[in-house]
Each structure stands twice: as C-alpha cells, then as structure tokens.
C-alpha cells in the first residue's frame, strides 16, 4: 500500500479549515482525514470536515455520481443518452450559438458556483459569458 499525505481546504462552509488527508495511491482511496493547523481552524474540524469526503467513494445512497456526458436526444422528458465529450461539447456550442444568433446574447444565462468548482472555474465561467456569449448574465446563488 503506497500512502501519501496531502493538505487541502475543506469543501463545506466558509470557515476555510485545513485538513490533512492520507491517501492510498494504489487503491486511489482516502484512508484518513485529520485536522491540520490552518489559520482559521487551528487544528480543529467539525463533523463535515471529519466525515464529509465519503461521497468521493460514490456509495450510491442518495444520488448517482455523474461519470459520462449525457444528452436528451429526443427533446425534453426523453431519456438521457450517454455520449462522447466531443459530441456533448459540440452540441452545447451549437445550441448556444443558435440561440445567441436568433435571440441575442442577453437570452442566455450562466451561473457561477459557490461550491467545489473553485475560483479559476468561476473566473472562466464569467469570462465565457462576457467575452464569448457577450452578456453580463452571470450570477450565483449567494450574495450579501
């Protein structure tokens, strides 16, 4: 069993706690999470910090992990069909392009994400909406 230790920021609330993970790289599984000495958490964690990473194991309790791009090929309410990334990307690009052409850029809305995706993905999302689509229609769920 090859083990490595990685420190990261907790995925849950805005406290920004630091967690030290032990990972079994052969099995590609997390073995243990212990609090690290972060600026805000100073060696402590709450329940979610200690136990909130198990979803990465996809235990099939509540919902299923999304692993393949999917399209409803028969329109709304038709079943989702697994497709390749190439097909999914070009389909989204084509449909958004058509809608932009027909109704203009302000007919498209995009969201940022205040959750796991991180700052860089949010930067790119707003850049995509502003520079590629041509609208300021970008927002996310939380605000002061």
């Amino acid at each position: 069993m090859a083990l490595k230790q990685v420190q990261t920021t907790c995925a849950y609330c805005g406290a920004g706690c630091q967690i030290m993970f032990t990972v079994d790289t052969d099995a590609n599984k997390i073995v243990e999470a212990v609090p690290a000495d972060g600026r805000t958490n100073a060696g402590t964690l709450c329940l979610k910090g200690h136990y909130g990473w198990d979803y990465l194991n996809d235990p099939q309790i509540l919902t299923k992990r999304l692993r393949k791009p999917m399209i409803r090929k028969g329109g709304k309410k038709s079943p989702l069909v697994e497709v390749s990334w190439e097909e999914a990307i070009s389909y989204v690009a084509e449909r958004l392009g058509e809608i932009k052409e027909k109704y203009g850029p302000d007919s498209i809305m995009g969201t940022g994400s205040a959750r796991g995706a991180g700052n860089e993905a949010n930067y790119l999302m707003q850049k995509f909406m502003r520079a590629c689509i041509g609208t300021n229609n970008v927002d996310h769920c939380a605000r002061i």
Binding site: L66, L96, E120, A121, L124, M125
Partner: protein, 566 residues
C-alpha cells in the same frame, strides 16, 4: 476582520447568525472569546447555542431586524455613547442618518421587535461601551426583502462607535458556503468583473476589452433570482432567457418557490447542467456535463474572511469526468472564442493581473504562507495581504470617508393571516450541507439525519394541535406544501416555524416566497406565512414518505430494487 480575531473582541454582537449549525469552527472562536471574558449580545428569534452563552439575548420577532438596529443607534446617540471624534474625522452623512433614527426610541421599537425597551437600552450600552466591539451577521440578516438596509444599519453602529480600522472590530458576514466569497471575488455577478470592478464604468470595461480582445456589454446582467420570471413572463424576445447554463447549483431544490422554478426549467429552450452528482435540476436538463469534484482537482477557494487558500487533488477521478474549467474552456473554443490553459495557475495568473486587489496573491505566495487575505496588491513576498480592512479608519471611498446610510424599517412581504397563521423561516442543518448531494452520500453523515427532515415548532403550539415529537405533519403556504416531522422545542417562539432546506420530501422551498431584496436580489427565505396541519393516518403518511423517497432516489439513478432507471 479575520476569523481568528473573533475571540479577542471585547464585545460581540452576533446578529442573525447561528454559528454552531452553519460554521462550527467559527462558533468555537465565539466560545473561546466567552472564556476570555468577551461580552456576547445575540440577536436571534431562536435560542441558538450562541444565545445560550450570551450576556444578552435579544429574542426578536422575525422580520424586525432594522427596527432593532435603528433603536440601538438611537440609544447610543441619545445617551452620549457615540464616538463623535471618529464620526467627524472619518465619516459623512451622520446628520441625515440622525433624522432617520430619531423616531426609533426603544419604546417605539418594542412592539415591532417584541423586545422590552430596557433590554434594547442594555444591549446598546454594552455594545457601545465595551471595546473593541465586533459584529458578525449571517443569513438571518441577508435573507429578507430588507437585507442590504440592515447590513448598512449594522455598519452604522460600528461607525458611530468608532469600531472600524483595528483588530477584532468592524462587521463581518460569515459566508455560508465554502466559496461564496470566491464566486463573488471572481465576478460571477451580473454587475461586476473579477475584483469588484463595475461593468458599467467605461475605463474598467476598456481594460477588460483589451485583455480579452472583444467588445463587452455595458448593461448589467440578469440576477439569478430573476431567471424564472425572465423565462416565464418576459415579453421582449431578446431579454427572455432561452438558454440556462447551470454550473454547480441545484435551483430545483435550493431556490424559493420550487413550483415556479420547475415550470421555468421546463419551459426554457435549452438547459445545460454541469455538476458532480445527479440532482433535482438534472431532471430538467437537456445536457449533463460531468465534472470532477472537490478532492479530484486543483484550485483556490476564498474563505469567509477574504483568505485565498489552495485546494489540492487527493485522488484520480474514476470515470469520464473533466475539471469544470476545462469543460468551460472547451465549449468556448468550440464557439469560436479560444481558451487555452494548461492548468489552474495559468488562469489564476491572468485573473490577478486584471484585479488590483488580488495582483499580489500569487500561487507561490499562497503555497508558501498557507494562504493570503486580500487585498494583496504587490507580488513581492513582503506583501502578505490584509488581515482587517479600513486600517486607521481609512475607507475604500474616493475621499476615504465612510458613509452613514439610514433607512426606515419595513415589514416582510407576506405576513401571517387567517389562512396561514404561522411563519416559516429556513435554516441550516449541522450535519448536512445545502442540497445534500455531497453529505447525503457520506455514510457517517447520512446517519445523523435523513428524510423527511423536521419542522421546529414551539411546544405550546404543538400542545394546542396535539402534535408529538416525530409525528408526520403537512405544512402549507400559498405556493405549495410538503410533509415533514414535528419537532416541539422551546428554542423557537410561538407562531414561528423553522425547517432545514436539505430535504427532498420535507422540501421547505415548496413553501418559500421568491420576493427579493431590491439591491441584493436575495429571496426572503426567512419569512413567509404558513399553516401546519395534523395528519390523522400516520401509518399512511409513513408509507407515503417511504414511497416518495424511493421514487426520487430511483429518478436520481439509484437502484432501489424496483427497476429504477436514470
């Protein structure tokens, strides 16, 4: 201010913020402050854990925040407790503000807030005379139609007592989700580019046009909470939303008035969902793009006190998922606007050079110091960021002076009435998070709480309705209903009910109103009129809840042994 500074405040005014449930590790700082002798004033309609250790608990009537805040300002001024030197040297607009708060005597506020006038006086005196005083606020301030006014009202209290510009003072929102601060910092906002640079200012827009090589819109965009209306009721075809690219959000569970949200998603021509787990919104998506999750990718989050910190890859994704940034870049490239980045650091470097407040926060520095609190303007290793803002009373305005901003209190939009005689407020669950797709799929956490959740009700109300703990009840508003379990508790006032928003079956957002604060566009999740009904046939209700749960899990792709399909 920074989170570590909380425990060294002389006085903490904790307003509409329940740290023990929403941020247990921040709440720990409050407990440590108490151990060090910090005075605590807790303004909350519920007996929260902070209320239990407070010196003064202002158990106000929901929806009366601004009346209380203005009354505290009134006392501070009339009893000569204001810091007149600070007001004179560092602020503007005080005289106009005084005119607004003049009528908010504690006696005037008492019938609105349900707090005895002398308690308001005692709290105002304690806040104004114990230095340094810090204010923390949470969603109990923000999720009302009068939200921004209350934030400004709290800032008025800090300004008039000179509580800005040093450690352990000022006012701080404690951000709910891990990267609310970051999504705002990065300009995922309809009025602002990254770094809080306004889209309507020509010089700023020109800077971004030059950097991105295309002309940019000078019109403020659509707030997310306007989307259902803009899909369903907008007459102008060019303004109607025809495509909705939803990234890491689940509006069909987390937004108010879910019936309206479902109708909007159903009517929207093209819905793209990019996420890690199947969720309620996915049922309405035309395309689903699977992203890597926290733990499977690299990046930076911003915590509640402006701290940039690294998130690191722990394991390899198993499946055909891609990082969010890569998916967005590929779609952009396919649409004729090429985005070529090799990693998150390349994206970050482009961003910090466009944002003066973030320019100094390089990956190298964040790695070396474990994090950097912005503003951090200089790339030299000596600029380690800014633990607290407005140092020495110098504010981020043109003349460096802070502005008083007084407004009158107004009641929430939907008040109790004959048909719906109680109030509903949504709150957090300690062991579960947001729409629960992450924590509900963690074996330890799911054991803490499960469907259909609880409605917290005062014990007297429960006795009147002959409701026992754990009994299934129906709860209704003008917009919809759901079934949940009754939790009798003396922590809440008679007439008020509280539900956590994680549950599919006990889905409180079937009931909530989509009325918004006019400035922040945040919904009034904390107040709507509702009614609780007893269910006579509990056996049927238990069976019904189990069936609903199985059905939804089957829709989410879980094999429930009943021939489920995705």
């Amino acid at each position: 201010m920074g989170i570590p500074e909380i425990e060294d405040a002389g006085c903490l005014l904790c307003f509409g913020y329940n740290g023990a449930d929403s941020h247990p590790i921040v709440a720990r700082r409050i407990v440590r402050g108490k151990q060090k002798g910090m005075k605590i004033i807790c303004a909350d309609p519920r007996v929260t854990e902070t209320a239990r250790i407070s010196d003064i608990h202002l158990q106000l009537k929901g929806g009366s925040n601004l009346a209380l805040v203005n009354a505290m300002a009134n006392v501070i001024w009339n009893e000569g407790l204001a810091d007149t030197r600070f007001i004179e040297e560092h602020t503007k607009g005080f005289d106009e503000f005084l005119k607004v708060i003049e009528k908010y005597t504690p006696e005037y506020a008492e019938p609105i807030t349900h707090i005895p006038a002398d308690e308001i006086r005692r709290a105002a005196r304690m806040y104004a005379t114990t230095k340094p005083a810090m204010i923390l606020y949470g969603m109990g301030v923000c999720q009302f139609t009068q939200a921004v006014d209350v934030v400004k009202g709290l800032a008025n209290l800090a300004l008039m007592t000179g509580n800005f510009g040093g450690p352990s003072m000022g006012i701080g929102p404690v951000r709910g989700q891990n990267n609310v601060q970051g999504a705002c910092d990065m300009g995922a906002l309809p009025n602002s580019y990254p770094g809080y640079q306004n889209v309507t200012v020509p010089e700023i827009r020109e800077k971004f046009e030059k950097a991105w090589g295309v002309p940019l819109s000078d019109q403020v965009g659509c707030p997310i909470t306007h989307v259902p209306h803009r899909i369903l009721h907008e007459k102008d075809e060019k303004k109607r939303i025809h495509a909705y690219y939803i990234f890491g959000e689940d509006p069909a569970q987390s937004d108010p008035d879910l019936a309206e949200v479902r109708e909007a998603l159903d009517k929207c021509d093209f819905v793209v969902m990019q996420d890690i787990y199947m969720n309620k919104t996915g049922l309405y998506a035309d395309v689903i793009l699977p992203a890597t999750a926290w733990g499977e990718n690299e990046g930076i989050y911003t915590c509640a006190d402006r701290g940039f910190q690294r998130v690191r890859k722990l394991i390899e994704p198993e499946g055909d998922m891609r990082p969010d940034w890569k998916i967005i870049a590929d779609i952009s490239t396919a649409m004729g606007y090429p985005m070529n980045y090799r990693n998150t650091e390349e994206i970050w470097n482009e961003m910090i050079d466009l944002c003066p407040s973030f320019t100094g926060a390089t990956y190298e520095k964040i790695e070396k110091y474990g994090g950097v609190q912005w503003p951090c303007r200089d790339k030299s290793m000596e600029d380690r960021g800014t633990p607290y803002l407005h140092k020495d009373g110098i504010f981020a305005t043109k003349d460096h002076k802070a502005l008083f901003y007084g407004t009158d209190w107004h009641p929430p939009v939907e008040l109790e009435n004959d048909q719906y005689p109680m109030t509903l407020s949504t709150v957090r669950e300690v062991g579960h998070y947001s729409v629960r797709t992450m924590t509900g799929n963690c074996r330890t956490l799911r054991n803490l709480e499960d469907e259909p959740g609880w409605v917290q009700m005062n014990t007297q109300d429960c006795e009147k309705m002959r409701l026992k703990k754990g009994e299934l009840v129906k709860i209704l508003s003008k917009r919809g209903y759901c079934i949940t379990r009754c939790l009798p508790t003396d922590r809440v006032k008679p007439g008020a009910t509280y539900m956590t928003y994680q549950w599919w079956i006990g889905a409180c957002n079937e009931l909530t109103t989509a009325k918004l604060d006019p400035i922040s566009n945040t919904p009034e999740y904390k107040y709507c009129a509702c009614r609780v009904e007893k269910i006579q046939d509990q056996e049927w209700a238990e069976r019904h809840v189990r069936e609903l749960y199985d059905d939804i899990r089957a829709q989410m792709g879980i094999d429930t042994g009943k021939g489920a399909e995705a």
